[in-house]
């Protein structure tokens, strides 16, 4: 595929870049909730160590797509899924791929911060303890590293034993990110991570997202287009379960190539 693929004649999506090194490959992904289709034949590649944002109106399938990336739909019998998702070349639905291991490699953070009812330290250590075989000393190191990576360490280092619920919403969200980071994921999925936060906490999360991309690949779903414009390197615009336009954030927000994209990001009626 060339770097600049021309528009397909059948009105298919415009994808105006081709990641040099790609972390996730989604190929012909369709998903339906019972009879209701949510994603239609989605094909796109998520570049490694970059921030990719999925934007689109409510019900466009962006969260559904995000959840498919770490198989959160597995337990829902209503969901029918076809197509392929590859993580670093490995099919995530292959029999040898364990869901627990997949979810360690592909971490997820949700809209509402959901710390466990335990201390700050125990929250971050939770995943590692679950894996087992780790010494206290090592655990201390990883907890500190994770809290530093999520820019929370300075605020909590003197009260690691106090309850996570005593933290503010923004701190809780960063704690949840630290908990996810502690198991060293390769991908971090963020579903509206800042929509319940005040503007300052939001900026801290955004700063964190920017800093984390040297360590891992980030995929962000957001309703806040300015947020997508601020933090992402690439943006995919979805509508009614279809990929409409996918390109560099720079281009998409200054000169989108399709009227559907233009109308959405500028708030126009179709």
């Amino acid at each position: 595929m060339s770097v600049f693929s021309p528009r397909s004649a059948d009105g298919g999506p415009i994808i105006d870049f081709d990641p040099v090194s790609c972390c996730l490959e989604i190929e012909g992904l369709s998903l339906a909730y019972g009879e209701t289709p949510a994603l239609r034949e989605l094909t796109l590649r998520v570049p490694r160590h970059r921030v990719t944002a999925f934007i689109g109106p409510s019900g466009c399938g962006k969260s559904t797509l995000l959840r498919a990336l770490n198989r959160l739909h597995d337990l829902n019998d209503e969901v029918h899924l076809s197509g392929r998702i590859r993580l670093e070349g490995q099919d995530i639905h292959a029999p040898e791929m364990e869901v627990a291991e997949l979810r360690r490699r592909v971490g997820m953070v949700f809209q509402a911060p959901n710390p466990f009812p335990m201390s700050i330290y125990d929250n971050v250590a939770f995943g590692l303890r679950l894996q087992g075989g780790i010494r206290k000393r090592q655990l201390d190191d990883v907890v500190e590293w994770a809290l530093r990576s999520s820019a929370l360490w300075d605020e909590v280092k003197d009260r690691l034993k106090s309850s996570a619920w005593a933290l503010s919403g923004g701190q809780q969200q960063r704690l949840v990110i630290a908990r996810t980071l502690a198991v060293r994921p390769e991908v971090l999925l963020l579903d509206e991570p800042a929509s319940a936060l005040d503007p300052i906490s939001t900026l801290k999360i955004e700063e964190l997202i920017r800093n984390l991309k040297s360590q891992l690949t980030l995929v962000l779903v957001t309703h806040n287009m300015q947020q997508a414009a601020r933090v992402s390197d690439y943006t995919a615009f979805l509508q009614e379960g279809e990929l409409v336009e996918y390109g560099t954030t720079d281009t998409l927000f200054t000169n989108p190539r399709l009227a559907r994209t233009e109308n959405y990001i500028t708030g126009r009626m179709a």
Partner: protein
């Protein structure tokens, strides 16, 4: 994607439509005033009307005020609406265009000031043919630039980019003939210098009109053609209707 001139009236927020429409309207009003300034500055010279020349110099303040007002409105839109895509390009194009129109206003005022000196000095009609020709040409360019802005017409804008080369040639040829006058008669040096300043100002107006045309291409196509040799422009990409 391509945009058409009615695109800024289709937002869900009507207030936003209005704000963007106002930007365009105010820019056009400023353009109208600037056009009048050029026309009157040149008329003051050709008709020997020193009172008119004085008025043009005075009116430059109104042009400056309009630029400040437009800049303020653009700042408000940027701060409050965080425009994207074609909306963002419109705001940027308006800011840039207002700045070029203000400079055209300065050039018109320069012409009027030099015209005032020439009228007092009784220079005869030397150089008037050249001034008339060049001024008509650049006035048409400014008018066309504003029209292309109002209509989002990249084809017309592209013509202007080439027009500017013709103006530059006319300017050089006018300078040559004025230099001949200077060599023939040393007493004419001072009035001829004033005329040269006027021609220079007209040539600069052509450059600013050319800039305006470039902003239209940016606004409509998202292509930045500044500092590009006109020969190297991808004409198809600029005029193609997507």
């Amino acid at each position: 994607m391509d945009i058409t001139s009615d695109i800024h009236s289709r937002h869900i927020s009507r207030q936003f439509n209005q704000e963007l429409e106002e930007l365009k309207t105010h820019l056009m009003a400023m353009g109208g005033l600037v056009e009048k300034q050029i026309q009157e500055a040149v008329a003051a010279l050709l008709e020997g009307d020193s009172e008119l020349a004085r008025r043009v110099v005075e009116n430059d303040r109104a042009v400056n005020d309009m630029q400040i007002k437009i800049d303020e409105e653009c700042t408000q839109v940027l701060a409050r609406r965080q425009p994207a895509a074609s909306d963002l390009r419109l705001v940027l194009a308006v800011i840039r265009a207002a700045s070029d129109l203000e400079r055209i206003g300065d050039e018109a005022s320069k012409i009027a000031r030099n015209a005032g000196d020439l009228i007092e000095g009784d220079n005869g009609n030397r150089g008037f043919v050249e001034v008339r020709m060049l001024s008509e040409h650049v006035r048409r360019m400014v008018r066309d630039a504003l029209t292309s802005f109002a209509r989002f017409d990249t084809e017309l804008a592209l013509q202007l980019v080439h027009e500017d080369e013709v103006v530059d040639e006319e300017y050089r040829s006018a300078m040559r003939s004025l230099m001949t006058f200077m060599m023939e008669d040393a007493r004419s040096i001072s009035p001829i210098l004033s005329l040269m300043w006027i021609l220079r100002a007209l040539e600069r107006i052509g450059d600013h009109a050319n800039n305006l045309a470039e902003y239209v291409v940016y606004l409509v196509k998202g292509l930045d053609i500044r500092h590009t040799d006109p020969e190297d422009l991808d004409k198809q990409a600029i005029t193609r209707k997507d």
